[in-house]
Amino acid sequence: MSVRRDILDWSERGYIAPNDVQTALRVGGALPEAADWRGFVEQLLLWLGMALVASGVGFFVAYNWQDLGRFEKLALVQGLVVAALAVVGWKGLDRPAGRAALFGAALLVGALLALVGQIYQTGADTFELFAAWGLAVLPWALVARFAPLWVLWLLIANLAIVLYYTTFGGLLGVLFGPERLLWVLFAFNTAALVLWESLAAAGIRWLSGRWAPRLLALASGGLATALAVWSLLDWRATSGWGMPLWLVWLGVAYLVYRRWRRDLFVLAGGVSSVVIVAATFLLEHMGLDDYGGFLVVALAVVGLSAVGTRWLQAVAAEMDQ
């Protein structure tokens, strides 16, 4: 919980005089100092500026302006990639400007590949664009030691996988059915999560932030939940492994994020997953097919989430100590 929340709480309960609240927030360190503001403004201008320029180039490519020749278009986008890399060379990868420039260059490579496909009508499938984009920026991600660039790479890879299975789903539906797509995405994101957590635990500092592994855990858990729900709703049409996988995922997530690396965010996601799967199970397999069944399941959802909330609050209090 934040310092601000505590100070406002104390004020609400009369421990701090109303006229002193702003001073208390300042003294308690809840408000940013001049140096914090400077850093924030600098980061905001740098990253928003980079994102706007890169997005502007993407929009420009999408417009497919006929008045500009193909060489001019290619020169424009390639020139921007080179300029961004020149900034990386100038500032280095340990400074925010160098990192923002490399991130921008990675985005521009996607625009460049789209432009190549647009000009030369290569006939490539969309997944090939994303796969090529992922391959092109992989070396940069490897050398940059910068978590947001890895998250971008993981996003590109996920899109490539989805587009691959979407493309071949109609042609070879038996082999590449939607369930297979969920399994592949689950395997990919879970492997990335395990690798990320392992390397962070090994002491790699730039991987120590929690937002990226939480995103991966959300993807992994969401996919496991989807597979379990699907197998409950239509077990004949699925492999039947969705529920066992979900149970294993839940057990491992509990052990890892309750015992080894305590993370309330993932535990809250686990509780949500339990509520969803339990509600689906009760509706599908307990013979609750009359209207009264809805009431029973509603009460079960309320009960499970209430117990889950109490447990999460207890874990939070334990982590506060």
Binding site: M1, S2, V3, D6, D9, W10, S11, E12, R13, I16, P18, A24, L25, V27, G29, L31, P32, A34, A35, R38, V41, L45, L46, L48, M50, A51, L52, V53, S55, G56, V57, G58, F59, F60, L264, F265, A268, G269, S272, V275, A279, D290, Y291, G292, F294, L295, V297, A298, L299, V301, V302, S305, A306, G308, T309, R310, L312, A316, D320, Q321
Partner: protein, 359 residues
């Protein structure tokens, strides 16, 4: 924040003569935003199941407007009584939330049945209902939900009256006022905190989930009475831009930075440039306002919401129909270049460790 950090904060305040005695225990168990989100999602699921039960057992509830209104009102009153009778029970809290959501859906169905062809009146009516629930139901999560719903229905009512473009500016102004003055009115925290989060959700929802809301409300949109005039549309974006500039002025004042100083000129200049870009990109200024306020009040959650709103703005701007992709690309590239130049200016005008500009 750990117990040790809480004690350290208390000690700093005590040393400054702002508090006395021992630190008090927590008023109630705290839950981070994602636990609240889990509670809210479960409440929604339970509410849908309760509606299935009510609709199956008592079909008249969905077929006759007065019955739906009566049933919905009874459910909401029951929920309010449950919250008040057992304020510390997690089960009662979750049950009350689900029952209240089901009741709200019934009231909306009843009003729809009675006023179906008058979307503005229906939306204004629901905004009123949600405002009453905000006052009557003393639970944080429910108040956040009520505030957000009331504001969303009010947005629909404005849309029906041809005043939709004014909503982002009005919402971001109210959001900024509530968050910036919350500390001065701490005794109203029970109301202001959930209202602040409801306002934040309402401001951010258009760029983040605007497409979803659009799809959901599309079937009703042919009922919208008046299309906004060009003057109202222009007034709306000017209002959003003005709110951004006003927020920057207020923050400069709070931080004691003189307007004529280099940081003051830079900050105001950046606000004016972003405000001017908002004339073509309406979601930009409200997203920046959320980000700025989030940082200014020291809330990581709100700052994260602002970043999310900015990312959503970038992706949603692609689909805005008021300009061609070429115009949009030129606007973005030009604005991005100006911001990068401003970044260089900041590094020059406001060096690390420099205190220039502070009064």
């Amino acid at each position: 924040m750990t117990a040790a950090e809480r004690l350290a904060t208390w000690a700093r305040l005590a040393a400054a003569g702002l508090v006395q005695g021992e630190p008090p225990p927590l008023s109630r168990p705290r839950a981070p935003w994602y636990v609240r989100l889990m509670q809210g999602g479960s409440g929604w699921l339970a509410a849908m199941l309760l509606l299935g039960f009510a609709g199956g057992m008592f079909p008249a509830l969905f077929e006759e407007g007065p019955a739906a209104l009566l049933g919905g009102a009874a459910a909401c009153v029951a929920a309010a009584l449950t919250f008040r009778a057992s304020p510390d029970s997690d089960f009662a809290g979750q049950l009350g939330f689900a029952v209240s959501l089901a009741g709200q859906a019934l009231i909306a169905a009843g009003l729809w049945e009675l006023l179906g062809s008058r979307l503005g009146v229906l939306a204004a009516g629901m905004a009123g209902v949600m405002t009453v629930l905000f006052v009557l139901v003393p639970q944080f999560l429910h108040r956040v939900w009520s505030a957000w719903s009331a504001l969303s229905f009010a947005w629909l009512a404005f849309l029906d009256g041809g005043l939709g473009p004014l909503v982002p500016g009005l919402l971001s102004g109210a959001f900024a006022a509530v968050w910036l003055f919350q500390a001065d009115k701490a005794r109203f925290g029970e109301w202001l905190r959930p209202a602040g989060w409801g306002l934040a959700a309402a401001v951010v929802q258009l760029p983040v989930a605007g497409w979803l809301l659009w799809d959901l409300s599309a079937p009703t949109l042919d009922r919208i009475g008046v299309s906004p005039s060009a003057a109202v549309t222009r007034a709306g974006v000017v209002l959003s831009a003005a709110v951004l500039v006003a927020v920057v002025l207020r923050l400069l004042g709070r931080e004691g930075i003189a307007l004529g100083s280099r940081p003051g000129v830079g900050a105001l200049g950046a606000a004016v440039v972003l405000g001017a870009a908002t004339l073509k990109a309406p979601d930009l200024a409200p997203a920046i306002v959320v980000l700025l306020i989030g940082f200014a009040v020291g809330s990581r959650e709100l700052t994260g919401l602002g970043i999310l709103a900015l990312l959503a703005f970038l992706s949603r701007f692609y689909y805005v129909l008021d300009a061609t992709l070429l115009e949009k690309s030129l606007l973005m590239a030009a604005l991005g270049s100006v911001l990068l130049l401003a970044w260089g200016f900041v590094r020059w005008a406001w060096p690390h460790g420099g205190g220039e500009g502070h009064a």
